[in-house]
Symmetry: C2
Subunit: 178 residues, 2 copies
Amino acid sequence: MDLTERTIESETVYQGVVVKIKVDKVSIPGGGRSVREVVEHPGGVAILPLDEDDNVVTVTQYRYAFGKELLEIPAGKMEPGENPLECARRELREETGILADEWVSLGSIYASPGFCDEELHLFLARGLKQVQAQPDEDEFLIIKRLPLDSLVEMVMADEVRDAKTAAAVLKAERLLNR
Amino acid sequence: MDLTERTIESETVYQGVVVKIKVDKVSIPGGGRSVREVVEHPGGVAILPLDEDDNVVTVTQYRYAFGKELLEIPAGKMEPGENPLECARRELREETGILADEWVSLGSIYASPGFCDEELHLFLARGLKQVQAQPDEDEFLIIKRLPLDSLVEMVMADEVRDAKTAAAVLKAERLLNR
């Protein structure tokens, strides 16, 4: 069965700083029509930096959308022309002041495929070297090192809810312990 | 350090069918100001239905935002007044025609906390009974049963990228095998 939906008409209804919204008329299987509301996002990366003592470098920041601080792994949006690994190196350095020798892909996640095209590329970074952090002007971060095992338990106990962090922590743990 | 950002002004710039966009002026730590673009979403649920042979009931559907079919676990948006478990029972029945006796919370994920308030409640459902499916008019789904072990491998091999599916599969596997 061909489930393809084809664009009949596309209208950009909002162009923001981070996101763009389009509302498209589409043809659906069986000959009918429907409307799809799509949030367009540049995509990004998230990095699980693991030090020699099996600690993960985490960032805690205020997430305005949820009105609270969240513990996450370092992450950020892709800039025009950047590839995922370049973006990951830049974001890790900016947010934590860390350089890494070894980069391993942990695959990608689609954060919310029902309405948004955001893809997040996940990386495991090892061989860490500390230099100076350079956070954005309006970015306030608390850096904490936590054992990978503890983070796995926090994900399982519903204490870490950020999707990219949960996925990267559980993938890394599985990759390293198989 | 208090990282709280306080709303100074809030403007709704787009009101869609699924999402609403607001652009808020906020105060940031240190006394400065910034702008936060927030996508508001009703939130939802995702269900990992596991049968007696350790197969997971999956749904494959065309995801217009990515222009391709994705294999996911059954999921859906919360309706007004619904709690997560009610929503999960409804969505599982609508999409797959399955009723479940046993419901276990797998916690929540925040799909994209940097710009969106979407929370997805994850459940493991067991004790499955097949009745009649009732998909939405514009919803076309292919239902497949796949061993949980195979799904874990597909997540690790970057063949399943949907964030809620990756999180639920890895959490369930860990919960059941510890």
